[in-house]
């Protein structure tokens, strides 16, 4: 099983990373060579015993310095787990910033975000023909006067049966719009807070797993009671080889870099698993935008004389 992985090039895998990012083959080979090196020293066949992980005395992760320390709101404390073994091992306890992870969830903002994410790329291809597009109707049906019947100019006018539609759908109709920056920002805060409050948020030290066998991942998720669908989020967009291979055959285990985190994906997956690096990056970015004072110029329309 393991040898097959070495012989295959990684590009042959359909890397099912949500919103598939172009991963240059150069960087994938680096991961593959690293894996090859590690294989010589470790056992990766699932039937054989997995290597016992040797760790320094716990807790490994003691504390975390919060940027923009909260004054009156207590930071939320979360366990940091491992991905080395199927059984959960708690490596330590960290603080999460309450302004990011303990905000009052605004359901209306979450709804706005989901609606925006679904609609902004929607293009309606429905089409109806106008009176000049419907076949025929160029000739005046009958003389203006004398027949005793109503007057008409074309058999395809909208009042006629089979005539053109006046205000019907016109293909293609885009529904693109940009939701305000702060609405999107608060959507992320609300969703993260809701996930944490509902015990659907878990922190792990890293996404390195000992084997690329898909059943390892499945057993791990089942053992820990994580939801049917799990979203793994890391800071880097090139994920470790093992977890990429293991999650490839499952549509409901998805890998995502921090910059791809969005409200819709968080709601679609039952459980959200963040790495420590992802938590750092997420907090740094969100708190920066919450506390910055120069956003007015950044949010304006582009001007030629702007610096």
């Amino acid at each position: 099983m393991a040898t097959k992985i070495i012989n295959k090039t990684v590009t042959e895998f359909s890397l099912r990373i949500t919103r598939c990012f172009f991963v240059p083959s150069k960087t994938i080979q680096t991961n593959a060579t690293l894996f090859q090196e590690r294989l010589e020293t470790s056992i990766t066949n699932v039937e054989e015993q997995l290597p016992t992980t040797i760790r320094p005395p716990l807790p490994i992760i003691h504390s975390r310095k919060l940027a923009f320390p909260p004054k009156f709101k207590a930071p939320r404390q979360v366990w940091v787990s491992n991905m080395d073994t199927v059984e959960e091992e708690k490596l330590g306890l960290i603080d999460l910033h309450p302004e990011v992870f303990a905000e009052r969830p605004r359901v209306d903002i979450i709804h706005e975000n989901v609606r925006w994410q679904q609609l902004y790329r929607h293009v309606s291809y429905a089409n109806t023909k106008m009176r000049y597009e419907v076949r025929g109707g160029g000739k005046k049906p009958r003389q203006q006067k004398g027949s005793g019947r109503s007057r008409h100019g074309s058999i395809r006018s909208p009042i006629w049966r089979g005539g053109g539609i006046v205000h019907g759908p016109r293909s293609p109709t885009p529904y693109f719009y940009m939701l305000g920056f702060n609405t999107r920002l608060n959507g992320l805060r609300s969703t993260l807070s809701a996930k944490l409050a509902q015990d659907d948020l878990h922190i792990v030290d890293s996404l390195d797993i000992p084997t690329d066998d898909p059943s390892y991942l499945e057993k791990l998720v089942e053992e820990r009671g994580w939801g049917p669908a799990v979203l793994f989020v890391d800071d880097n967009d090139i994920m470790p080889l093992n977890i990429t291979a293991a999650s490839d055959s499952y549509g409901h285990y998805n890998l995502m870099p921090v910059y791809g985190l969005n409200v819709y994906s968080m709601l679609k997956h039952h459980t959200l698993v963040l790495t420590l690096a992802a938590v750092e990056r997420l907090e740094e970015r969100l708190l920066f935008h919450l506390n910055r004072n120069d956003a007015a110029s950044a949010g304006q329309k582009y001007r030629l004389d702007s610096v």
Binding site: F72, R104, R106, V107, N291, N293
Partner: protein
């Protein structure tokens, strides 16, 4: 007259120097905006020399740049404006009104777009028992203005609106309450 002649002479010189031949035109037309079109970097001898004056002087440049985040205020010392810093301990009340990122009290004056423009006083960043806060502020405003005050409590977005311009009254009340 002489100055005009001098100017025309200078202009003619400029005109002469501006006449290009076809080959030089081709050379000029290079697109340096793309990485691949740029000539490769040569050894340092091919470029003009430079020497670093002082890296200590960078602080004079840095202090000209505006800060991205409002700097923290000095704990002691009075302000010439009537701004007071937020307290270190929260008041013992069932509600809390958080300061903005610029350490200001979150009371705003809005104008509603109705026929006769309506002034609305809005209090944001409320946490806790919003109804108790609304009751407290409303009773204070009615006492001060001797008028009935109409209010709106938005529980989802956590703000309170009062119909009328009571910004200064509300701000004063909040500062006295210890927010």
């Amino acid at each position: 007259m002489a100055s005009v002649a001098a100017r025309s002479f200078v202009f003619r010189q400029q005109m002469n120097t501006r006449r290009f031949d076809f080959a030089s035109c081709l050379k000029i037309k290079s697109f340096y905006s793309s990485y691949s079109a740029n000539p490769k970097e040569k050894s340092p001898e091919n470029y003009t020399q430079y020497h670093e004056v002082s890296s200590d002087n960078w602080k004079f440049v840095e202090r000209l740049k505006p800060p991205t985040v409002v700097p923290s205020f000095p704990k002691n010392g009075s302000c010439f404006s009537d701004w007071t810093p937020p307290p270190d301990t929260p008041p013992n009340l069932p509600y809390f009104v958080k300061r903005t990122k610029n350490f200001m009290v979150p009371v705003y004056l809005n104008f509603e777009a109705v026929r006769n423009q309506r002034k609305i006083t809005m209090v944001k960043h409320i946490e806790g028992d919003i109804w108790a806060l609304e009751k407290a502020i409303k009773s204070h405003l009615e006492e001060v203005t001797k008028r009935q005050v109409v209010s709106q409590v938005h529980e989802v977005a956590m703000y309170i609106k009062f119909r009328g311009d009571y910004v200064l009254h509300v701000k004063k009340w909040l500062l006295n309450a210890g927010f």
